[in-house]
Every structure is written in structure tokens, then in C-alpha cells.
Subunit: 327 residues, 2 copies
């Protein structure tokens, strides 16, 4: 769909929403959206195909009866209160994975905050190439392009930064007790509801761009997961006993991420480190990590100033990097 | 050209070279190369189009009279004595830049040591997106895919590793006094003959793959450079007063790189650091660097254990990262 059609559809939908239960005339739509009544009719037909129920009554006009839970730009943008994050969106009903699409867009010059989002991934991936199950219309499967002017050495802090921001946004909207499991998972009651995957392109010792991938189980139902994953994963809906509108979560996440990210660029990692420890799932517990120098077991006590996890063995403190652990 | 045609051409050329000034019969070629005399004739025609002069005499056979200086796989492979580097080659007469082609190949799964090489780049690039002039048939314009299992923090050491290896190979073949200018240039008499560009893809804190780009002015003539670059760049031919066979340099570089790289993976950065300081152009001189905390001027005294350049200001030693300097 081209940019003009997108804008018309966004305005049309906004106008229908604004009128709530009352009808809005074809005449008024035509004037406000600034296109012909025939064109309006075509866009209404397109929206119906996407699952919107729009009632048409002679001499009264149109009325929105049912709005499907979609994560299309025309749903996200009216509720988005960010400066840059999510201002440019590429949306698909189904893709293999949003990560390579975001990489491609970044190589083409995508602005910071550009977002790739889809209703369904057929080959979603987690850390170390593991499969991430991403069923249709029931989760948030998205990738955000960032262009931080930071050295490569600081890049792993972005995963921790994103964990904090997503945790805060999901807590605010759902009220659920969401916790961070180092390095890149969010949990409820010890079960996974979100994975964050940070990939990047670098030149010499600088970051060129980052693709921040997020997979969030929103309204995924228990019967969805294959047998071997049952008991390991959960969703906001399972934990909260209700479904959630994904667009509300997405706009909350983008808003929170933008603020936390800008704070990170200005004030560095220290404020993130403090927030991270507040939400951490694993502090005080015993962790086993596979390091290049052998297996290390110790009590997780916090993050060091660079973002490494500190394991305590008696009086010794050992920093662990995410590549070292095999969860 | 497909893989079979490549192999035939490689065998054919090897056979002609083996016979030196004497003729080799079509019959013998056909048997040794294992294809029909008609096919042989077609391959001879193709080679002639590439600039090879091959004399054909009735009842005597074929004889190689002139061999153009090309960097095609059939020229490189017979002289290559590596285990993995350069075993897979993608070759073009002209490309915009070898770097994006190597990235694409790496994303498709290119093995470690896969090489993209070309006779001419129309949009060659250096550090920070600067133009790198890459005229036809007169330089080495190539990109090597590496897959080191190292954390992102160590990635900048690969540029220093490559500088050392290329310096050693070029010194051995040419006998010229080649020096390293931190972070990524090689010089003769203070003028640039080679630039090295390390780009990478990372996931969380690990390197997924590296593309090591090298641009080397071999037989480039002084009139080639635009006016503003005259006096800044030079070539091996200008410095040595003779031309060099590029294939000899390429195979020497790949061999040296493979050895130094494997040493780096096994023994770490320390041996590289020592060699680097031996070849450094700038130690003992005053350097000005632009850091995030302001401009720093000091005497370059060496590399720290991570590969940062150490500037001395009185009793203070300040580590400088390549992103900090604006040469």
C-alpha cells in the first residue's frame, strides 16, 4: 500500500472512531479525509477485508461496529506519543522474521526509530538462532532500528536498556509482576513472556546501527506451545486472566523505550543498571555459567558498571558476559 | 561462470603454464582437463577475451605467450598455500564495492576465509564512509569473511591483527619499508598505500561474522589520484620503482593473515600487540585525538592490552579508541 493510501486510511479510521456509536456521513468523510466518495467506499471495503465491521446505512452514513486487534500503522499511529520511535513503520500480515527486514531497511538508510512489525512470524528467532514461536494476531513481533553513536563495547548494554524499558511499559499497562532474567528474557512467575534480541552492524570499534528485536506473548493461549515448551512459556493473557489490546502495549513500549534510550545516551548506563537490579528475577539465586575458562557457579549479586552479571563465589566476584551462559 | 567451467579453466591454464614456452597438444589438453577438444577451444577463446595471448599452431598445439595481470580465481588458486583463506572466491571484473557483496555472502552462510575480489571498484569505501579510489587492474580490492568466536569488545583488535599480517606479507614480497599508522592505514614514507576496513555483524555481545576489507595500491600511477589527494597516497610501484604481480601479493597476504589470525584466536592479542609496535609509524610522535571528553594531545607510546592507543601527557597515560581520532 502506498503512503497516500495509508494516510487516507488512517484519517478515515480516526474519523470513524471519533464518532463512536453514531454515524458519520459519506459527505463529511469525503470532506475531512479529502478524497472522493467512491475512493472512500473502496477504502471501507479494504478495511472490511481486514476484519473491521463497518455498518453502512442509507442517509445516515457509516459507523464502526467492530475493530479487530491489528498492529497496522493506522492502528498504532493515532495512539503514538513519541518523537521518533515508530514514526516510520513497515507492516506485514505475515513474515518469516522481522529481524532481517529491519536489517535490510537499516542498510537502505532507515531513520532511528523505524519499526518493522507483523501479525505473525513463520520463522521467528531468539538468541543463538533458537526458534521463537510467533502465532498470528496474538503477540507483538517487532524490530526497531537504532543508531546510537556508541562504541561496540557498550552495545550489550542496549539489551539491558530494552529489558528495563519493556518491563516498565508492560507493568504499567497490565499491573503484572514482570521480572528480568539476565541477559534477555522477561518472566512472569518464572515463565517466559518476552525475549529481546539485539543485533548490530559495526565498523571498526563503532556501532553503525542496531536492530532491537522484541517478541512478546500477549494473547497467546496455552495450547499453542509445542509439548516440550509447555510450562516454560506463558503470556500476559494467561497470567492476567484477560486479553490485552496489543496496540496499547506497543505504544506504551515505544514511548518508554524512547525515554530510557535517550536517558542512556545522555547519562550512560548507571541509571539503567539501578533500574535493572530493581526488576531482576535472579538476584540472590545461584547461577551456573559456561565461560571460556570453565564452568562457574555462584550467587548472582548484580550488574557491574559495564553490564556484566556479577557472580559471587565466597569472597571472589566474577563478571559473566551473556555469551558465557547457556540458559 | 559456473563451478565446472571454473575448474576446467583453472586446469587448462595450469597445463599451459606447466609447459612454459613449449606447445601442448589439443589431444593432451583434452585428456588432462577431461573435456572435448571443442570445449577446450571455447575456453581458449574465453581466455583470449580476458587478455591472455595463446598461440595455436597446427600439429603442435597451444602455447601461452602472454598472461595478463588478473586476480581471477584461476590465477590465485594454483599459487595459494592456505588451509581455508581464499579457498572460496567470488570474482568480478568490476563492482561498486566488495564490502556489501561479502556481507551478503556472509549472511547466506559463507565459510570462514571466503574471499570477494575484483579488478576495479567504482564506489570503494574507507573508514567513516570515505571514498577509496580503486582503479582497474592496478590494486588489490578485496574483502575476506571471518567468523571468530570472540566477544564484540575484542573485534577492534582484528583491524590491528590484519594490519600486522598485511604489513609482513608486503614487506616480504617487496622489501619496502612499510609502516602501520593507527588505526587502519599502511604507509610508505608517510604516504598511504593500504587501508583496512573491519565491519561486523554481532548478536548480543558476540561477533557473528566479520568482513575484513583491504584496499592496496599496487601498480597505481601518480596521475591517477585527484588533485587534492596527490602527495597523500602512493603505491608499491611508485615506491619500489617497478610493478608487482598482484596474485603474488594476494597469496602472500592470505597465507600470512591465516597464520596470524589463527595465532590470535589461540594466543590472544599480546603477540599481535608486540608485532604491531615493531611496525608502527607513529610511536614517539605527538598525536591529536578528538574524544567524547574533548581534544587530547599527547605522545603516542604504544598499545594497551586491549588495542587502544596510549597517549602520554606528562605522567598521565590516556587510552584512545579509533572512533576518537579524526586523522
Amino acid at each position: 500500500m502506498d503512503a497516500l493510501a495509508n494516510r487516507i486510511r488512517e484519517s478515515l479510521l480516526a474519523l470513524l472512531l471519533e464518532h463512536g456509536d453514531s454515524y458519520v456521513s459519506g459527505e463529511e468523510i469525503s470532506q475531512r479525509v479529502n478524497c472522493s466518495r467512491t475512493a472512500i467506499w473502496k477504502h471501507i471495503e479494504e478495511l472490511r477485508k481486514e476484519g473491521y465491521q463497518i455498518e453502512a446505512r442509507p442517509r445516515s452514513g457509516y459507523r464502526l461496529v467492530y475493530r479487530p486487534d491489528r498492529v497496522a500503522p493506522e492502528e498504532i499511529k493515532p495512539e503514538l506519543h513519541t518523537r521518533r520511535f515508530g514514526k516510520e513503520i513497515r507492516y506485514w500480515r505475515q513474515v518469516a522474521s522481522t529481524q532481517p527486514l529491519a536489517h535490510e531497511w537499516a542498510r537502505e538508510g532507515a531513520a532511528e526509530g523505524s519499526l518493522v512489525i507483523t501479525e505473525e512470524q513463520t520463522q521467528g528467532r531468539g538468541r543463538l538462532g533458537r526458534i521463537w514461536h510467533s502465532p498470528p494476531y496474538s503477540g507483538i513481533w517487532m524490530s526497531l532500528v537504532l543508531r546510537p553513536a556508541i562504541p561496540l563495547t557498550q552495545a550489550p548494554q542496549l539489551t539491558l536498556m530494552a529489558s528495563v524499558a519493556v518491563t516498565r511499559a508492560l507493568r504499567r499497562v497490565t499491573g503484572l509482576d514482570i521480572r528480568i532474567k539476565w541477559p534477555n528474557d522477561l518472566l512472569i512467575d518464572g515463565k517466559k513472556i518476552c525475549g529481546i534480541l539485539t543485533e548490530l552492524r559495526g565498523e571498526q570499534d563503532q556501532v553503525q546501527y542496531v536492530v532491537l528485536g522484541m517478541g512478546i506473548n500477549v494473547n497467546v493461549t496455552p495450547d499453542f506451545w509445542p509439548e516440550e515448551l509447555k510450562g516454560k512459556g506463558t503470556s500476559l493473557a494467561i497470567a492476567g486472566g484477560r486479553t490485552y489490546r496489543r496496540v496499547e502495549l506497543i505504544t506504551a513500549i515505544l514511548k518508554e523505550l524512547e525515554g530510557i534510550y535517550e536517558g542512556f545516551l545522555t547519562h550512560g548506563f548507571e541509571p539503567i543498571r539501578i533500574l535493572w537490579e530493581e526488576y531482576a528475577a535472579m538476584l540472590g539465586t545461584t547461577i551456573r555459567a559456561h565461560t571460556p575458562h570453565g564452568e562457574v557457579t555462584g550467587e548472582a549479586i548484580g550488574l557491574d558498571p559495564t553490564g556484566a552479571l556479577i557472580l559471587r563465589q565466597g569472597d571472589t566476584k566474577i563478571p559473566i558476559f551473556s555469551s558465557d551462559i547457556d540458559v
